[in-house]
Symmetry: none
Subunit: 221 residues, 4 copies
DNA sequence: CATGAATGAGTGTTCATTCAT
DNA sequence: TATGAATGAACACTCATTCAT
């Protein structure tokens, strides 16, 4: 309990092996079965630890959820910021990089993003949904700047709804991870390994989004 | 229990007043609080009926969920079929109609679509996720035909990934209903009535998707 | 664990600083929230020591309780013995001194006496309730002697039930500490400091009991 | 649950057989082992009912406690009121009746009064301790009137602290039920049946208190 | 000598469901 | 047909205690 208070809310908290085990198991189960659909017993069993440890380490099931969230969100922000400041890339190249990054991230960690989606969907505002809100707002600002850049140089057309474009990016990717089996069937890849399928889809999804964005950002209707 | 077996799985089942009350309450609560986050007691209370009625009428909480799903999905299919057969519309007009239809439907019944999303996300295949799968497959075939039509007339370019286009349509719309409060904030409409905001967003979202689709379908990179 | 066995049951055991901290915190919390209502975590936190120390020093929560009891009871006995042997006082003066002593003791350490009351009430015989039993028996004998003295000199009337008189003394005082807020309200002293109220009540209670005892011991019905 | 709300707080609530079983078992166990020392599982087992029934019928363990309290307190008040209005009795006769009543009640239901004592002792104000507070206040007023009556007729002396007299009455009786085994030993009645001992002690305790009160109320120091 | 980590049994409560009527 | 009563399993969480260091 003592350790708990010291760590709560900090970003540099370092988890020990058991805590990481718990967080990973929680991530997996939350995203498979939902927050409510996952019991602390399930998590403890999956992680191979005693039930009481979860309360011991994280205080509560919800706090554990927050830990899952924080641990994963941490680095995402930094990457976007760096990209924006890279002056070697043209606006459209930046957009493409953004797409590649996002597709890579979301297809590489589908479980985690499912959790985030689920949290967003809830009406009652959890700590987490608030954090997601802030994250999106920040990202929106960065991307707005990026689009503006392109518009100034004439590379992008005017009248672009950046928020909805962002919604299309995340929405399309989220849609994919929620419908993996559907896409597997569509592309006749039911028998391929998960890895092969994922690599294939990363390419496809990335290409699709790039086409989409390039057309929309540059094509004058 | 007797009535149950006769009804299960049929499409033309007619529900009595109480059953409809139950289904409506269930839809509302499931989408607000999730499937696991909603208790049968909550549903019974919301519907103003006895707890036991739910098991009595629907057999189980899950079966009730299926009933919610079936009731709402029923008509959707017919509309798509009709649209496809309408020879008065050009392919792009059909695409636009499809978009309008979908936006109208999803923003008009966000609760229901949230349920569907949640079900899709689950790993363990429920009856419902299977039904969603089939629904999507059918829709995909229709839309593929529609795109082909356009490609034949030269209105649409080649190399279009219809499945992912569909994913973009549904994904963008789903993303919106999951992030309503985010968009409200982005468009500075926190103080507007729910109705006004919804009407505004229907237009915006529809326009965005049309631009997106027109550019992507017709612009040759 | 090693030190434990040596200490258990002895009367002259000397506690170190930490142990005294623990005992004091335990006394405070036990009397506020009851034995079952107090967790070792609470005690550890109150005492500012590690949870494990309690088991380490005292073996168990119950043994800690016994330590609380023993520490406080130790000196009480000696004072009664001394009083009885004081030949300078008349029987009624001894009774009055006894009353003053008891009131002083019980109002000065209400927490501790609440614990004792609680232990006495329990059906299942704890080590402590046994110790209380013995304590009361010894005290009864002393007081019987005292009353007999007075009866021999004719100062006290015959037919006095000493056990019940003792019950009245302790019962009245105990009743007070269990109903402090009631008495505070009765005497309109809600706003006075705890100290002022306690001093006031010591006087009142002492006077009341003296009147009671004098009347009962000397008044011939 | 529905029935619960209708009944809560009412005085005329009628409990069904199972509810009474639960209340009786709860009373027994609470008074033996304390509130915290009694688990709902214990109560369920003692009452021979399912654990869940306790929450079902009473909402919570605490509410059950309140039910125990309310059920028993109900009639006590009425009896005191009636006694006060009885014009056939002299003040001292009323006091004696009060004593007889109280002794009868408390020795007849020692378990229940132990619960009340325990609740009173707690620092954190429960609903019950509040109810006890009110009960005592009301009773104090009645008894004050009674004493005043006696003082007007000259039967009782002046300068009587009614609150503390009441404290002596309840304190002495409470002390007895908390120390039954002590008194059994004192009066050498360890081998007598519970019934015989109780009858004997009712007489003794009643006599003691009457002597005490008569002496104190009438003897002019 | 001292403690953070860990445990398994226990807590009160809520769950979806079934039973008796 | 309809329901209040009842159930056993499960829930998140806390407990006093022990262990490894």
């Amino acid at each position: 309990m003592i350790g708990l208070k010291e760590q709560a809310g900090t970003y540099n908290m370092e988890y020990n092996e058991k805590q990481i085990q718990i967080i990973d198991s929680a991530e997996k189960l939350f995203s498979s079965n939902g927050f409510e659909g996952t019991s602390v017993r399930d998590i403890a069993h999956e992680a191979g630890i005693n039930i009481a440890m979860i309360s011991y380490y994280f205080g509560s099931k919800e706090k554990l959820m927050e830990a899952v969230f924080q641990k994963r969100t941490l680095n995402a922000q930094l990457r976007v910021e760096n990209l924006m400041q890279n002056e070697a890339l043209s606006p459209i190249q930046k957009v493409f990089t953004l797409i590649d990054d996002y597709v890579e991230k979301i297809l590489g960690q589908p479980e985690f993003h499912k959790i985030m989606m689920r949290e967003q969907m809830l009406i009652k505002n959890s700590t987490i949904s608030g954090a997601i809100f802030e994250l999106k707002k920040r990202n929106l600002e960065y991307i707005k700047k990026l689009i503006n850049e392109g518009q100034k140089t004439g590379a992008f057309k005017r009248n672009i709804d950046v928020a909805l474009m962002m919604g299309t990016l995340t929405g399309t990717a989220n849609n994919f991870i929620c419908s993996e089996s559907f896409y597997k069937s569509v592309y006749n890849m039911e028998d391929r390994s998960e890895e092969v399928f994922q690599r294939y889809m990363k390419k496809k999804l990335s290409h699709h989004l790039k086409t989409l964005f390039k057309a929309t950002l540059t094509y004058d209707a």
